[in-house]
């Protein structure tokens, strides 16, 4: 993606618990995907940090951030055992070219018999994004009613903050095709009513499908901004290459966003 002046590259990426299609941890692949996209900010889902694989304790999140020369934040939502001896705290993470402040991890409202999910937030302290807050989340995989419940909690939490954006694996299918508007799923209707614009819906190129990475069927990874700030959306696409098909079961969504004035002084959201 060619970068316009004064714009940043925002990426949201579910990294499948560090396991590629071959079930191996391979930071070279993930670093290559992020570097090839020239991403400035990356929201990550299904991050284990730290992770124990076999007898080895590692912190691939810290290692990946170091390789990319980026800052990072982690917001756990629980503990996961992924295959024999592959376990650790699991949650959302943020990688950023810019230093982060006010890092928060909020637990989403939880229904009986569902997994606890969380919302990671962090504010950029310098550069073109100074004053902007990023939120990263991963909604329930199984049931739209649970996701609605979770998203109501998120909106209540983030709506008063401005400026901000929300990205992650929503697990709700963004319908494609001529009937898209009429068939908008409940969670996406809620986002629209709450005043948020879907970056891919606004400026997307290609089919936008992100899952599964080798032959994607659905668009379930999203980046949303309040309408005021969504005017800065320049382009959005789901990335595909030989590497993205191996690195995770999701493709990353890359959004280019530009804002010519200082963000902190640019009015209300």
């Amino acid at each position: 993606m060619r970068r316009s002046e004064a714009s940043v590259h925002l990426m949201t990426y579910n990294i499948h618990r560090w396991a590629g299609r071959d079930q191996q941890i391979d930071l070279d692949r993930l670093a290559a995907v992020i570097q090839a996209a020239d991403a400035d900010i990356v929201g990550l889902n299904e991050v284990l940090h730290p992770v124990t694989v076999g007898q080895t304790n590692t912190a691939p999140l810290a290692e990946l951030a170091e390789r990319l020369g980026m800052h990072y934040a982690f917001g756990p939502s629980g503990w996961i055992d992924y295959g024999p001896s592959w376990h650790g705290p699991v949650g959302n993470a943020l990688l950023s070219r810019y230093p982060l402040t006010d890092v928060s991890n909020t637990w989403l409202p939880r229904l009986p018999s569902t997994k606890q999910r969380s919302l990671l937030g962090a504010t950029f302290t310098s550069g073109t994004l100074q004053g902007l807050t990023a939120f990263v989340t991963h909604l329930d995989h199984a049931f739209e009613g649970t996701r609605l419940h979770q998203m109501n909690g998120i909106i209540k939490h983030i709506a008063r903050r401005s400026p901000h954006f929300l990205m992650g694996d929503f697990n709700t299918p963004g319908f494609l095709g001529p009937n898209t508007h009429r068939l908008l799923p409940p969670v996406l209707r809620l986002m629209r009513r709450a005043g948020y614009e879907d970056a891919f819906h606004a400026v997307g190129h290609g089919h936008g499908k992100t899952f599964p990475s080798h032959t994607p069927l659905v668009r379930i990874d999203f980046l949303f901004m309040p309408y005021h700030w969504a005017r800065g959306f320049r382009s959005a696409r789901a990335l595909n290459s030989g590497v993205t098909q191996q690195a995770s079961d999701h493709r990353p969504l890359l959004v280019e966003w530009g804002w010519s004035e200082p963000i902190a002084a640019a009015g209300v959201a």
């Binding site: 009986p112 649970t146 319908f175 009429r182 068939l183």
Partner: protein, 268 residues
Amino acid sequence: MKVLTYNVHGWLTPDAGVANVDRLAEVIAATGADLVGLNEVFHPWRTPAGPALKVLADSLGMAYAFGPTLPAEPAPDAVPYGNALLSRWPILAYAAHHLSPAVSYGRRGLLETRILLPTGQPFTVYVTHLDHRSESIRLEQWAAANTWLLRDRGRPHLLMGDFNALAAVDYPTSETAARLRAFQSAQGWPTPSFDLVAQVLKTGYVDAFERAGTGQKMTWPSLEPERRIDYIFLPGVLADGLVNCACVDDPVVRGASDHLPVLAEISG
């Protein structure tokens, strides 16, 4: 568990067009149903005792969820319309999916509800009401519904409602087929099609009445039942637990709504 699917005709009796909430409560209570899918529900529909859906749920001691469908012609004073579920057990959460394609004859949707069973297990129940005029529109609506249902493939769940579709199994002889064609042409309707139900079965669902039904099977119109268009579908994993299935039919029921309800009992 006992499951009932019931089109309530917009809270009106089929003949006189007067409020039917009391009769519905009587019919549903007599079946002992634990889960009731309702179609053609207006909510909140005002009655002296309160909104009809709440009055019905309260009188049965059940929880309810309402899923409004897409308004085809938005009007400022329109009462939301759609599908509903009554449940003896807590409803954890629900979501209303839209199914109406760009061309359709009304507002159609799929209500998805998550129930907490007494065992502590969550259980998903879907209630839908498909287009009443065109099999090709119903097929489009089924495709949209299936994008949601696919995620529950292999998990115990239920799908029920007024599908407005016919099953080939109900017309096994040339006499019954001829009778159907005569009925269709007398109404000025197109030649009958069995594609929708065939698609549902092909997806892996079991038609509860086809598998375990006994007695009179037609559900509409209630005063002189002629067609079976209300269904309870079970995924394969639940089908072995199906105990029985029947159309609930007696003079009180025939006077309550323009549809007869279908009751299925599932064990385990």
